[in-house]
Point group: C2
Chain length 198, copies 2
């Protein structure tokens, strides 16, 4: 139905994650109506991010500086390492202001169905980082889903014989949520992990 | 939390319609992980669409050719004009294959709350198109919401004294929908517009 440049744009937008055909169309027409400067800004942001962003050789997260600002921050505790799946998980944890150690980004999770095994993740790099004995505690902060749990179990087994404290993030009811709307797995976890009060 | 080019990209993406902060982040990281060729393709599509797409001087829809392929199609009936709000409405109607006349894109709808009055729409252009008497039927296909109804009423009043057949698209239950999930306004319209069978 659409022709030429509009069709190309809708198709390119529709390939983005979470952008269906309707949203792609809506965004395309928004761009056609928008100020040229705003549109140029978007196109430039895409190109520049792609050109300038690399991965930190230390923790593996997406950053413009290698090593990244967290890995080079001397105020952070180098003895605690939080292992996450993706760069965006680092940002999510940083927002909590609960963690002052460093990170290791795996670049995904073990998922046999997607053909992703431990060798596709930054596991060797993790082992290399542990070699000098500086890290004494590891927090496995992979996602609380099938793939994340499998990855955490795999890593826990690998780290078992090393002299490290290994922990996993707590599962339970989301704060501010409603008990009756929690799925049964989450509710089951919340029971299993219940804390004694007082 | 994000820095430099990543932050700029997430911000630029977050300004798109229907793209919240979470989606913007997800799209940004997708682009950082994607093949450079795919990313360049997206940036180029955006720039090219913006450069090449103009508005048809006749019907007002977004197109690369002025006049557009519909306005120049001699197989289409020039006596019937379908008035819509936006270019994407033309595509939606074309998909039905129910309409073989031509279009007039208003470029929006009357919306006092957004400060959009008849003078901000292509109403004068519509009147100019009607001047030669070729068009004998007008279908008002503005959206079935407050703004679209107001626009249709306004146009119906303007066209009242001209020798034209003016109609409005039917409102009613969506095909394939479930009666119990229909909102009361739609259901009310479906009753009011009920057809006698047999």
């Amino acid at each position: 139905m659409y022709e030429g440049a509009i069709a190309d744009l809708i198709e390119a937008l529709g390939r983005l994650p979470g952008v269906g055909p309707k949203s792609a169309q809506r965004i395309a027409f928004h761009l056609l109506d928008a100020e040229p400067a705003e549109v140029q800004q978007l196109a430039r942001s895409i190109t520049e991010a792609k050109e300038r962003v690399r991965f930190c050789g230390e923790c593996g997260r997406a950053t413009e500086n290698d090593p990244c600002s967290i890995c080079t921050d001397v105020r952070r505790d180098p003895s605690v390492l939080c292992v996450v799946e993706e760069s965006r998980d680092v940002i999510a944890i940083e927002r909590t202001r609960e963690f002052r150690g460093r990170y290791h980004v795996l670049g995904g999770a073990i998922s046999p169905i997607d053909g992703i095994g431990p060798n596709d993740l930054r596991v060797t790099e993790l082992m290399q980082r542990l070699a000098d004995g500086v890290v004494v505690e590891i927090i496995l902060a992979t996602d609380p889903n099938l793939e994340g749990e499998a990855t955490a179990s795999y890593l826990a087994r690998m780290l078992k014989d090393m002299d490290l404290s290994v922990s996993r993030l707590a599962s339970g009811l989301p704060v501010g949520g409603d008990l009756e709307f929690a799925d049964e797995v989450t509710l089951g976890r919340a029971f299993a992990g219940r804390r004694t009060l007082g």
